[in-house]
């Protein structure tokens, strides 16, 4: 039972993992031009934030942060749906999934 009482590694390790995931997602958003991969990198960043929230929730023994993670998942699902349908519409109009295509909206 002693082993069940801790969350595996120390708090700093989980913080490190989630910051690393967030930075990887940010680098992906900045480098990739493919709209689908861009949306996936946003999902990766959202998951990094979720991991951090769950870590602190477990560390302080407070369940309210996990409710926020639940709402983040809800909003992420809605965001992915809308993003993908905008992508499909843009692809139909221009036959390209390059994010630079949206420069055409610039007047």
């Amino acid at each position: 039972m002693e082993q069940l009482n801790n969350i595996g590694a120390s708090l700093d390790f989980y913080i490190f993992v989630s910051i690393a995931l967030f930075s990887i997602g940010a680098i992906g958003v900045l480098t990739r031009k493919n709209m689908i991969v861009l949306l996936m990198c946003i999902e990766l960043m959202l998951n990094a934030v979720n991991l951090l929230l769950v870590t602190f929730s477990t560390f302080f023994g407070n369940g309210e942060a996990q409710i926020f993670v639940f709402f983040i998942i809800v909003v992420a699902a809605a965001e992915a749906t809308i993003g993908l349908s905008i992508l499909i519409m843009a692809y139909r109009n221009s036959k390209s999934i390059d994010i630079e295509m949206f420069n055409k909206l610039n007047g």
Partner: protein, 171 residues
Amino acid sequence: MSLQMISVILGSLTIASGLMVVLSKHPIRSVIYLVITFFFISAMYILMNAQFLAIVNMIVYAGAIMVLFLFVLMLLNLNKEMEPETTRMSIITAVIAGGTLFLVMITALRDTFQYGKGYVQVPVQDAGLVEKLGKLLFSKYLVPFEISSILFIAAMVGAVLLAKREKQIID
């Protein structure tokens, strides 16, 4: 094999598969690596005794959202030459920017690291069980819960409206 070793292996695998999402050239491989990342994150949730979120993460993220991404990828029927190319300069700039972000956040959280040295004892270990979260969700957070259902209806109607095929295509 101690619990600490398992979590370190899980964490490094998560970071590695997260890197592969960004690095892989083909979008379908990115989707698969993202699903693997989500499964590793779910495993970390289980390790932290957040069982409800682990299941929700697996069903909603790895199940629903990723299947949606895969469907869109198959629907678009992309081929190799349609992959937009990135310039070397933008990659270097982005890596510098991301690395700086990483360093700044690590440095800012240095005090937290000293606070949480060694193994972390969890004061209340059943905070993430379904019963506790359900009671919290349906009492204190009932209004946000209902508002999120309105958000879902709006997202559903919006997705149908946006992706509907129109009669004439605007150039």
